[in-house]
């Protein structure tokens, strides 16, 4: 018994280290590619303050904040998806499919729509307020979906279907609002809604960092409850877990993570869906291990997608959400075909 546990632990540690190495390698690849190429050695030199002024400008003011944002957003969406799948006991749950992302997106667009004249969009307050606007939208969407799907209990398939419907409704309202905007905001919002890390700057990183640093550790700490949910509500209650309370807290964490991520990265679909599956395949069913692995895979996946989006059709950029969809929708369809 003990040797099995030690083996699992070692496996987990090795996996974390391997993923960490991948992330570091990808980090340097991503930093050195772009319209203006900077070799990895120059990147290291610049990071050590030995590069040219132009290189320093490109790296520190443009590429670095974008990449850090990609890492944060990827991690947050992946953890959000892991929790949602655990809580709903539904393999196909994800903040994008359930409509939580669109709810957050709608709140952000409303915020831009009503306050665009009062605040400059890149202004400090507005950046720090945006995650809160998104959070309100995400919570609103989550509560709405939950209430609409409630019919003497929550059934996970009904939850997903209701999510699709709510998603479509919010989408229609978004379209109407968007077309009332002036052309410049229109384009910006369109690209952002497709999932794009726009206006990547250090303020966004600072606005997002506390959410990630606070909520992901709480999620790992609460992971045991997710494992117990796997056994079914009755067993969980028998083991002394206050089911509804734990479920509520976990849902709130998932919604908050998704909301804040959407505020900075737009509506990136499928990431939160696919990553937990990969993590489960790699490490097994224990959520205490799944969540940290998901965090790293999510960060890595979004960074890869971001790099692909920036380079494959350069100089035009593909929104990162589009790349994520193209990479992971086939996997979703595969899951669907396998599901009973």
């Amino acid at each position: 018994m003990n040797t099995v546990k030690t083996k699992k632990r070692n496996q987990f540690i090795w996996m974390m280290i391997t993923l960490g190495i991948f992330i570091i390698i990808m980090f340097f690849i991503s930093l050195s590619t772009g319209v203006i190429q900077i070799t990895p050695i120059e990147v290291i030199n610049t990071l050590l303050h030995n590069g040219t002024e132009q290189q320093a400008l490109i790296l520190f003011d443009f590429r670095l904040p974008g990449i850090v944002l990609a890492l944060l957003i990827g991690a947050m969406l992946a953890v959000s998806g892991t929790i949602l799948q655990g809580v709903t006991q539904n393999d196909l749950a994800d903040p994008g499919i359930l409509g939580i992302n669109t709810g957050a997106g709608l709140a952000v667009v409303l915020y831009i729509y009503f306050f665009q004249d009062m605040l400059s969009l890149t202004g400090i307050q507005s950046i720090f307020l945006m995650p809160f606007a998104a959070l309100i939208g995400a919570i609103f969407a989550a509560v709405l979906i939950y209430l609409l799907a409630w019919r003497s209990g929550i059934n996970s398939i009904r939850l997903v279907l209701v999510g699709i419907g709510v998603n479509a409704g919010f989408g229609a309202i978004l379209t109407i609002l968007q077309l009332r905007m002036d052309p410049q905001n229109y384009r910006q919002v369109t690209v952002w809604l497709a999932g794009d890390i726009w206006n990547a700057n250090w303020n966004f990183v600072l606005a997002l960092l506390p959410w990630a640093l606070l909520l992901i550790p709480i999620a790992i700490y609460k992971a045991k409850a997710l494992d117990v949910f796997n056994l079914g509500d009755e067993v969980a209650a028998g083991l002394g877990i206050k089911i509804e309370k734990e479920r509520g807290i976990l849902l709130l964490i998932a919604v908050a993570l998704a909301g804040a991520a959407v505020a900075a990265g737009g509506a990136i679909a499928f990431l939160g869906l696919v990553v937990p599956h990969i993590a489960r395949k790699l490490i097994g069913p224990l959520h205490q291990l799944i969540i940290p692995i998901s965090t790293l895979i999510g960060a890595l996946l979004l960074m890869v997608a971001d790099t692909i989006g920036k380079n494959i059709l350069a100089p035009s950029e593909i929104p990162v959400g589009v790349v994520v969809s193209i990479l992971s929708a086939p996997y979703f369809i595969y899951l669907l075909m396998k599901a009973k």
């Binding site: 699709i164 479509a168 229609a172 077309l179 052309p183 059709l313 969809s325 929708a329 979703f332």
Partner: protein, 338 residues
């Protein structure tokens, strides 16, 4: 859903006549209202005693009348497509927009716009037929390869995933060729491009599609009772399905190529038609056509009035009407049993 009326075909005919009259009235309203109001009397004159030197007559003849007729035809075609799909698959959530058919047609048009911008209307229409066909094939391949077949839920999820995938690829192409605004508006669904040429194309393709639909309507009724029973009655189900898919492709393809992605009409209308007309698809299909036409003509009118003089995409209006209905269906069919 239990039928509202069970026996009297006189009553059913009567309802269809009333709805049809309402449709004519709605078309007249749609022609009359807009950025500038044209009195109904002038509309009448413009149609029956057209004088080219009067501007109001020109507006009616060249802009509003073809647009209203196109809206009626497209609404009818989408609703009939939905009715056929729901009948054939016995799946209450089946419809062109849910199953990714519209996204497939849109994708083909994006490719045409990007690579062969000089293509004719007819060429664009054929492209969208092919695109819709590819999307339907993908859905059916997924259905035949997945364990347990395509349940309503799986179908909706597969449609969402394939729709998202196809839309993503479309947006890559449109971003690369800087077509995003053009395609964004078109994807949102709108009838502002509808002219007499569009009406001609719609009529041409529509006659073929609708004739097939009516021809197989009785067999769809049998099919909707269950495949085993249909086979037992000696029906060639494969042939009926091929004809059904073919007419869905024609009707959806031509609609999408003109109005873009107009969602949810194909989903809602067949339910309403079934509720009123009962289980017989010989009634459901014609009624769906009339109801669908009425809904899209009215939605188009709303789309022009709600934020005049700017147009709101009609697809957004039909979605807003359709979503509550979808939610109702999802609550009732999605999870009662499982």
């Amino acid at each position: 859903m239990r039928a509202f009326i069970n026996h009297s075909s006189t009553l059913k005919t009567f309802i269809n006549i009333i709805t049809f009259t309402a449709l004519v009235g709605a078309i007249a309203l749609s022609v009359s209202y807009g950025a500038t109001k044209v009195p109904l009397e002038t509309v009448w004159q413009a149609v029956f005693r057209f004088q080219p030197e009067i501007i109001a007559h020109q507006v009616v003849q060249e802009l509003r009348l073809p647009r209203a007729i196109a809206a009626a035809l497209i609404g009818a075609f989408l609703a009939v497509s939905g009715a056929i799909m729901q009948g054939m698959t016995r799946n209450p959530l089946a419809s062109p927009s849910i199953m990714g058919v519209t996204d497939g047609a849109a994708f083909a048009l994006v490719i045409i716009l990007a690579f062969y911008p000089a293509v004719s209307n007819l060429g664009g229409t054929f492209a969208s037929l092919i695109g819709a066909g590819i999307a339907v094939s993908i859905i059916f391949i997924i259905g035949s390869m997945s364990s347990g077949g395509l349940t309503p839920v799986k179908l909706a999820l597969a449609g969402v995933a394939i729709g998202a995938l196809i839309r993503s690829i479309s947006s890559v192409i449109s971003l690369h060729f800087q077509l995003e605004k053009e395609i964004g508006f078109w994807m949102a669904g709108g009838l502002d491009g509808a002219n007499w040429n569009a009406v001609k194309l719609l009529t041409l393709f529509g006659i073929i599609g609708m004739l097939i639909a009516l021809f197989i309507s009785k067999s769809i009724t049998v099919l909707s009772l269950g495949e085993d029973m249909a086979t037992g009655l000696g029906q060639n189900n494969t042939l009926i399905k091929i004809l059904g898919i073919f007419s869905v492709l024609i009707l959806t393809g031509i609609s999408v190529s003109i109005a873009g992605a107009v969602g949810f009409i194909g989903l809602i209308i067949p339910h309403i038609a079934r509720f009123i007309m009962g289980k017989d698809y010989r009634w459901i299909i014609p009624s769906s056509a009339i109801f669908g036409a009425l809904l899209l003509v009215l939605a188009d009118l709303v789309s022009r009035l709600v934020n005049a003089p700017f147009e709101t995409p009609v697809g957004a209006i039909t979605s807003l009407i359709g979503v509550p209905f979808f939610l109702y269906l999802a609550r009732n069919s999605g999870g009662g049993s499982k």
